[in-house]
């Protein structure tokens, strides 16, 4: 069967990184084509190119066999393409109805389609008030109401709870049955296997291969990582006294959270996205002042002190938004100097070697580094250079390839002198890495677990 959409030899270069290097890909009517790869493989870039957000530096796109130059998202929408990504095409400050209107969708049609799909559309609510899952369902209804032939779904499961993921996967199958061409992007092999008719694996901007049913998970794993990854599971052997303690910590979303870190411990804070973990980490690090509760380092109350005081006491904070910690317009060296006082050139050169950071010169702008290298630079500065006592890290491994994530955990072991609190979204990762797990739900610590961990029990706690 003739593919509805095909991309041939797509290439895209960003400052500091070749995101896509001659990738070819196609999708047919009535199929779900899984696009699988680890972070930084180029999946999202490909989707953005197919939707006209990025202009490719090379390659061709054919729709219905006709060569097409996709000029803008507006143009793509006109060609019958819809995208559902983590960045929702919804404006928070408008109501759902206004958003539908803005997208040129007849509200009644949308409600009808929603009903057929078993989804209620909260027309009068502001989008900003909706939960992530609700937003996503509005997006799917939008795509259907637009009568889009091609649906691009970029990591649609990333922000959902396990239960919502199940519901979504069944909707995805339904869409294919309706004759739509669906591209389903994920970094989770199991999801791809469950939802897709064909799977294309990308790795570091190149296509490794396209696989047909029945899938062999081992083959897919091999294709994703090409055997380079050997996950080392090493837990702390000796755990000491409590060195850091937050009591009844409250903020805007976080309510009365109590968290403890012992010497030598790696504590995971686990939760479905949007349950207040970003704020909790900002509060724990002292970067944000709490509305209530106490923070105690080594038995001393430091609640409400300025962040500089926390820094002095050896707290390091890795925010989820790198823009908070890196000045993108300044050079790599200037960024390094944020924490470095003396012999910075030499130390930076050393860090570059130790952590394998790729930048042409110390005077390169930080913005010109790839996401992975920016993160490594940050790790070099906050961990390798500073050697903190307590590390508070918000999703430090999000968006990192497995190799860099591995480096992060190794660095935590070698550089952090006291203990670490790390927020994560993946149960498996937490179980594998942590000495203790707190589950956060709706801003509250819903449960805490110590080894031996029961994955199902933890997943259950995340969704209640």
């Amino acid at each position: 069967m003739e593919p509805l959409l095909s991309a041939v030899g797509i290439r895209k270069v960003f400052p500091g990184v070749v995101a896509l290097d001659g990738v070819s890909f196609d999708v047919r009517r009535g199929e779900v084509h899984g696009l699988l790869g680890e972070n930084g493989a180029g999946k999202s870039t490909l989707i953005a190119i197919l939707y006209g957000v990025y202009m490719p530096d090379g390659g061709e796109i054919y729709i219905n066999g006709r060569r097409t130059l996709i000029k803008s998202p507006r143009h793509a929408a006109g060609l019958g393409i819809s995208v559902i990504s983590q960045h929702f095409a919804l404006v928070d400050t408008l109501t759902v109805e206004e958003n539908l209107k803005l997208s040129g969708i007849d509200v009644e049609t949308a409600v009808k389609i929603g009903r057929e799909l078993g989804v209620e559309i909260p027309l009068d609510k502001y989008v900003g008030e909706l939960a992530v899952g609700e937003k996503q369902r509005v997006e799917i209804v939008k795509a259907l109401a637009r009568n889009s032939e091609i649906l691009l779904m970029d990591e649609p499961t990333a922000l959902l709870s396990p239960k919502e993921v199940k519901a979504l996967l069944s909707i995805v199958r339904r869409l294919a049955e309706m004759g739509k061409a669906v591209v389903f992007v994920t970094h989770k092999i199991r999801e791809a296997v469950e939802a897709a008719d064909r799977i294309t694996v990308l790795r570091r901007g190149r296509r490794v291969g396209t696989y047909e049913r029945p899938f062999d998970e081992g083959v897919l794993l091999e294709a994703m990582f090409q055997g380079v990854v050997q996950r080392r599971v090493s837990k702390s052997s000796s755990i000491g006294d409590v060195i850091y303690r937050a009591e009844d910590l409250s903020g805007e979303r976080v309510r009365r959270a109590t968290v403890e870190v012992r010497r030598g411990e790696l504590v995971a804070v686990l939760g479905v996205a949007g349950n207040g973990q970003e704020e909790l980490m900002a509060l724990l690090s002292g970067f944000k002042k709490p509305r209530g509760g106490r923070l105690i380092i080594n038995g001393e109350d430091v609640t409400g002190r300025p962040f500089s005081e926390f820094l002095r006491r050896g707290v390091a904070y890795l925010p989820e938004d790198r823009g908070r910690a890196l000045a993108k317009e300044l050079s790599v060296l200037d960024n390094f100097k944020i924490r470095c006082i003396q012999d910075c050139m030499e130390k930076l050169a050393k860090a570059k070697e130790v952590l394998d950071i790729d930048f042409p010169s110390p005077f390169t702008r930080a913005a010109a580094l790839s996401g992975g290298n920016q993160q490594k630079l940050l790790l070099a500065r906050e961990l390798w250079l500073v050697k903190p006592y307590v590390l508070v890290a918000s999703y430090p491994t999000r968006g990192l390839d497995v190799d860099t994530a591995e480096r992060f955990y190794a660095l935590v072991k070698s550089a952090v002198k006291g203990g670490a609190v790390v927020s994560m979204e993946d149960v498996e990762e937490a179980v594998e890495r942590a000495d203790r797990i707190y589950v956060i739900s709706r801003g509250e610590i819903a449960a805490s677990f110590t080894p031996p961990f029961d994955v199902d029990e933890i997943a259950e706690a995340m969704t209640t």
């Binding site: 953005a48 957000v53 929408a77 929702f88 928070d92 400050t93 408008l94 803005l102 997208s103």
Partner: protein, 289 residues
């Protein structure tokens, strides 16, 4: 006598409130779209100069055409080409001063025959325009898109609405309002032209738009703030022995003070949500965060 003075100030204020309201409505539309256009001052100035040079009645039409095109050029450069909004606005104001003074240099000081206008009726027209803009934002798709472009251009773009196009539309509307204000100032308000005469109106409108919390209806009231103080200064000049130059400071000081007060009120309350979230930030499609 006191009653007389109050009536005189009020009438004076209404007369000068018309151009202020028109320019403010323009600024409201532009800032809602996410563009902090300090070039508005230049647009008002240039269109006033054109109106003076051409003279009534065609001066009005010519002023609106020239002023709108000038404003559109600003929008294309600051959005499509992402030149810094604030500094480009400053440059446009300066170029507007330069070109405007050249255009109207032959009519400096020459009186322009102005029709008999009380100010109340023109203000009524401007109020109708304000209500129209209000419904434009409330009801029309373009109005929604303009608001979205100032709050979250990236999502709007993903929705399949061309942000740059929407901003050009906003620039067009803003240009028409601002240049109408400029033409009004010369043809109906001052009735003459000099290089210094219409300076400051566009800048005050930028602030008034902020004071009105970007609401066209509140703009009706907010536009009276500088107008009231301008008129007050005007009337006080005849009464008091204070330097007219010091009195000229009053509208600026008062506007800044009111703006500061409004901002404090905004920070403490939910009004904060009214501010366009992307104001003065460029939107570049390929630059994702």
């Amino acid at each position: 006598m006191a009653v007389d003075q109050v009536a005189s100030i009020t009438l004076e204020a209404l007369r000068s409130a018309t151009p202020m309201l028109l320019a403010t409505l323009g600024a409201v539309v532009g800032q809602r779209a996410g563009v902090l256009n300090l070039g508005l001052e230049g647009v008002v100035y240039l269109s006033a100069a054109v109106a003076a040079a051409v003279g009534p009645p065609w001066g009005f039409v010519a002023a609106v055409i020239v002023g709108t095109l000038y404003n559109l050029l600003y929008y294309v450069l600051s959005n499509d080409f992402a030149l810094n909004q604030i500094l480009l606005g400053f440059a446009f104001t300066m170029v507007g001063y330069g070109v405007g003074s050249q255009v109207a240099r032959d009519v400096v000081g020459r009186p322009i025959e102005k029709p008999m206008v009380y100010g109340v009726e023109t203000f009524a027209v401007a109020v109708v325009a304000a209500v129209a803009v209000y419904f434009f934002f409330l009801r029309s798709r373009v109005g929604l898109a303009i608001k979205a472009s100032g709050d979250d251009p990236a999502s709007l773009d993903l929705m399949g609405v061309d942000v740059y196009n929407i901003r050009r539309v906003a620039g067009l509307v803003e240009g028409v309002f601002a240049s109408a204000a400029g033409a009004y100032l010369v043809l109906l308000y001052y009735g003459s032209w000099s290089e210094q005469l219409v300076m400051g109106w566009g800048s005050l409108a930028v602030i008034t738009a902020m004071i009105s919390l970007w609401s066209p209806l509140l703009a009706i009231a907010a536009s009276l703030v500088p107008s009231f103080f301008i008129s007050l200064a005007y009337v006080l000049q005849r009464l008091l022995q204070v330097s007219p130059h010091l009195l000229n400071l009053v509208p600026y000081v008062a506007s800044i003070a009111v703006l500061a007060t409004v901002q404090v009120a905004m920070r403490k309350t939910r009004l904060k949500a009214l501010a366009p979230r992307w104001l003065a930030r460029p939107y570049i499609r390929e630059e994702r965060t």
